[in-house]
Symmetry: C2
Subunit: 331 residues, 2 copies
């Protein structure tokens, strides 16, 4: 019998479709192995081609050249210049499209994924995420920001060179508002942060945990939206990603690299997205929001049902997916 499980954070029902269920290994598709070179002359993010990118906002220097660069997106979704204007009538709510759209070039090496990176370099990347996130929120026009990564064409990128993005918007998306509201209601019902509670419960049960260390827990949520949909939760309550300290940065880097390695080896390098879900730095003391990192390997495709209902059909059992990734090789 299939099960419907409610994702407490999104309040979306997920159909865990046991009759369609696949074994975790069935999601390991044979993928064409292409040898990606470590340097590509035509790549705008490869060393020597720095002139091909728009304005550079930040550079982490190496002994020779650089380790990480942050540049404006060449085709920005939002315009960094200009004033924020709103207009609003009964039918049309309009805001000028000002905001920030940055590309974080994660490494000078064209074919080096986070799964293969040196752990110290992942730590540097997290530090850069943190500083760019803070920087975006220093702009008074900005109300919300996300940091995300699209890895592979199936995850929505055409650029092969490892990069993440930051988009900071002049409005708060309804998705974020809805999650805050769900968290607030939980807090009002129980006097506790929903995420802290979920974490305690997940650790008690243990069946969906993949990695558990001093500062973070990586697990497949009870109502995972898709196979191997994974959350990295900080143990210490904080609403904002920007509040994490050095020990947490190191531990988070370990979780991110290890999980992405398990996905890489266990599922044969699928495309994936990840996103840092966080409140603004100004709101880090909020008692009911709790930042986290969400990873979605793109092993299935959403279709008309998801579009039309907002519900998801997950053809894998979260407990089995977690078991599989726990056992998967990570180096």
């Amino acid at each position: 019998m299939p099960e419907l499980r409610l994702n407490l954070v999104t309040r979306e029902w997920v159909i865990i479709a046991t009759e369609r269920a696949k074994r975790p290994i069935d999601f390991k598709e044979y993928r064409e192995t292409r040898t990606i070179p470590s340097f590509l002359n035509t790549c705008p993010f490869c060393p020597g081609n720095e002139y091909k990118t728009p304005q550079e906002h930040f550079r982490l220097s190496a002994e020779e050249g650089w380790k990480i660069r942050v540049v404006s997106n060449k085709y920005p979704a939002l315009n960094p210049q200009g004033e924020k204007h709103r207009s609003s009538d009964v039918f049309k709510r309009f805001v000028t499209g000002v905001g920030i759209h940055e590309v974080i070039v994660e490494t000078p090496v064209h074919n080096l994924s986070i799964a293969q990176m040196d752990l110290r370099d992942v730590q540097d990347l997290i530090r850069v995420y943190q500083s760019r996130f803070i920087n975006a929120h220093n702009d008074p026009r900005i109300e919300h920001a996300i940091i995300f990564k699209n890895s592979g064409e199936g995850a929505g990128t055409s650029l092969e060179h490892p990069h993440s993005q930051l988009i900071a918007t002049p409005v708060v998306p309804i998705q974020f508002r809805d999650r805050v509201q769900a968290a607030m209601h939980f807090f009002d019902d129980t006097g506790e942060c929903m995420f802290c509670s979920i974490l305690r419960k997940e650790r008690e049960e243990g069946t969906r945990i993949i990695i558990d260390t001093d500062n973070f827990v990586t697990f497949i949520p009870y109502a995972a939206l898709s196979p191997f949909h994974t959350w990295i939760f900080p143990k210490r309550h904080s609403a904002s990603f920007t509040s994490i300290g050095e020990d947490e940065i190191k531990d988070l880097s370990f979780h991110l690299k290890t999980l992405l390695s398990k996905v890489y080896y266990g599922l044969d390098n699928p495309d994936y997205n990840f996103v840092v879900r966080s409140s603004r730095p100004q709101d880090s003391a909020n008692l009911y929001c709790h930042w986290y990192l969400s990873i979605v390997p793109r092993v299935t495709r959403t279709a008309g049902f998801e579009l039309g209902s907002g519900m998801f059909i997950n053809t894998s059992l979260p407990e089995k997916s977690a078991e599989f990734l726990r056992a998967a090789r990570s180096d």
Copy 2:
């Protein structure tokens, strides 16, 4: 300067990314033309292979054989048998996965799309949608149902033979609840159905209208989530699709066939999804909900930003897309 526009129905902000904007014709990609046969021996939906499908629930007979068949999905997301049980603690909300998952085989002809179908056959299809939707809601376990179509692999189907699906769930998805709430608030603010108001406003402006006849209006919404995202709105207020009469069925069929033809010829047969968004037949007298049909050609791909924010980036101007589809050939 890009614009942010609020979709009143979903309350999602959409970034209309003018700096990334493409001309409508740029979405017409060269697609490999495969000659699809009108009959395929191995296709479970082709005539003669009826024994390959699970239980048949409905058949519209033709002089020879059949015109439309409705069968159970071979790999149903929900189980038609069994009782509905809920269990609920602070962390886990669980419902047994009972429900209905049907496949509507639209035609015996393996390669006949709705765009190419005889208009009378499209009318029959709409009638079958209507009767299956009513039938699903006669089941007391069912709280919500959607009818949708995935056309092409990029839209989530692996079966080429033209078919639609009905999924009826034992819960109401949060997406539907949120839309009802938005519609209720609008009604409380203005004393009018939000959809009726939008329709009046769209017809006054005219710039986003594609087809306007006695009973229906096909248009690109002001805050379209993606290029060529299109709504077919009934002019007569009703919360449920099941309340439409014969004249409306004929007119709706004309809109659906014409719009899909324009998409077919104008954009060179892209993959697409459509979905009927409707309240239950029991709720058709509701004053603030209004059923409609939504069509999403899959000419772009969502990525980490959409996943992480729930906002959409639309790289086309809705007014330009509408102009393009207005002019596009439909036969």
